[in-house]
């Protein structure tokens, strides 16, 4: 599981940074890519990475501001031209369908793959499939804006082979049944309970990706206990008033959210175009004062999300 930032600039591109888009590369679904937001030029950025547009299967839009949205019609079109045939699902706030309908119809764009828009009507479950769940919550921005919590489902724990060997159960189909949670009756009539020979389930990773927002309860809820939280830090600590006015957060507010939500790692992004590339280290330092496990996201760089197996409670 890896996160890639296609763009980390707020509002508009600058020479060194593009507008918002994040890709989550998944391990459980054969390298599928999920994308969060799609600012203009996202498809251009993808060309500079090893990520293939044809592997994109789901797209989540946080809100309809142009710097998170205007790359979407071109990306959908190029995915078709590049031979993408797998079905694509796009999730986002109401209005997303009208935007895409207008853009694709008026430009006479025909996609060579099944394509569905899912407008989010409420907070809660977005999807539950292929080993993952996604839920959303409303954030606090100038227009309707969603955050997303992506959770790998827990995997069943490993079998305690030492216990089974001692009980005289050789490897075979019985192991599969126990692994699936079925109890096993032996020839002598005794019963081996699956619960007694299964280690604890291995928890899945949790990634929380926020859209633009002031600090808010929705973000805190989605971020709770996440392995990685992606949260905006449009402004430095000295511009809290501006952040409040425009519906954004400062570096300190990002870090405070991370701390309150008890997460493992914070990646801040969506930096105002006023900050040149030399100033991101200062933003990072501000956030680290509150939450040390913070990095200012760098574009076109992979952020691996470690497997949580080390947290497994082995018997």
């Amino acid at each position: 599981m890896e996160l890639w930032f296609m763009g980390t600039s707020a509002g508009m591109p600058i020479a060194e940074r593009n507008v918002s888009s994040i890709v989550l590369s998944l391990t459980r679904t054969k390298g599928s890519l999920w994308m969060f937001d799609c600012g203009e030029g996202t498809q251009h950025q993808l060309l500079r990475t090893p990520l293939k547009l044809s592997r994109l299967t789901k797209l989540f839009i946080t809100h309809l501001h142009g710097d998170h949205l205007f790359g979407l019609p071109g990306l959908l079109s190029s995915r078709s031209s590049l031979g993408g045939t797998a079905s694509l699902d796009v999730y986002g706030p109401p209005g997303l369908r009208e935007f895409l309908d207008a853009a694709l119809r008026l430009s006479d764009t025909h996609l060579n793959y099944p394509f569905q828009v899912h407008e989010l009507e409420a907070e809660g479950a977005v999807l539950d499939e292929d080993g993952y769940t996604v839920e959303c919550a409303l954030l606090d921005h100038r227009i309707a804006c969603f955050g997303y919590r992506i959770a790998e489902k827990p995997r069943s724990g490993s079998l305690r082979v030492d216990v089974l060997t001692a009980a005289g159960v050789p490897p075979g189909p019985a192991y599969g049944k126990l692994k699936a949670g079925e109890d096993l009756r032996l020839e002598d009539g005794s019963v081996i309970r699956a619960a007694d020979v299964l280690c604890d389930p291995i928890p899945g990773r949790v990634v929380a990706v926020m859209g633009d927002t002031r600090p808010c309860e929705g973000a805190l809820r989605l971020a709770q206990g996440a392995d990685v939280l992606v949260y905006e830090a449009t402004f430095g600590a000295d511009l809290a008033e501006k952040a409040e006015q425009y519906g954004h957060s400062t570096t300190l507010q990002a870090a405070e959210t991370a701390k309150a939500a008890n997460i493992s790692r914070l990646l801040i992004t969506h930096f105002s175009s006023r900050y040149g590339p030399d100033q991101l280290a200062e933003l990072e330092t501000q956030a680290r004062g509150v939450f040390p496990q913070t990095d200012a996201a760098m574009e076109l760089q992979a952020y691996p999300i470690p497997s949580p197996s080390f947290r497994t409670n082995l018997a």
Copy 2:
């Protein structure tokens, strides 16, 4: 007067080329910029040039295919963020207004400048102001597509000072009246006719910018006698059937149009993504076989359009 190519790739961007957009930098209106088409990522390309988005005053869209259009909402928005306050006019085929209305409204984008969309209903005059005229004609593509002919208005010729001196007319207000075309009555009752002391008007430059098209009468008409013709060469000479099928031209067809229209210089562009950067020289060579004054347009490079004063018919 200079032409800049922001993108020369057809259909979608590749690592080395962006999708269509051309900028014409004008001399008569204090460095105003006019843009022809605005594919996704055009604003990003502008950041790599000395051209300022705030100087953009007119935008002409040839047709609504995404690779000529999808950069427009983001570019309009960034022009506002970058402090552009001058009025902006956008010209293009019907449907352009609906696209921009939807994109700007749904993204809650507010522009800090007066902004007008002019949908072209017919061939003919598009505008006549500030020393320039623009006319359009329908081309032959898969959807409605316009070409544009931009003409500097002729400047009045210089005064024949030698003749005036011989006639005893000293420099002064009389020169201004003669230059403006008024005849001059001298104190002895004789008349100096303006026509007799004015050199021929200095013709203006003509730039013809085509959209996507098969060879057609409209393109030939707009290109007639142009100083520079920008014409698409999506395909090499061997792919004439594909060009016909998709409504495009080959290198040879571009060159034949240039030759038939008796132009001075041909710039070919809109190369299929199948052609890597090493193959453009071959496309150029094909076209030069028919029309030697051809160049394959290079992105982010200025093409000056020389003043035509050398063509002035001095008495």
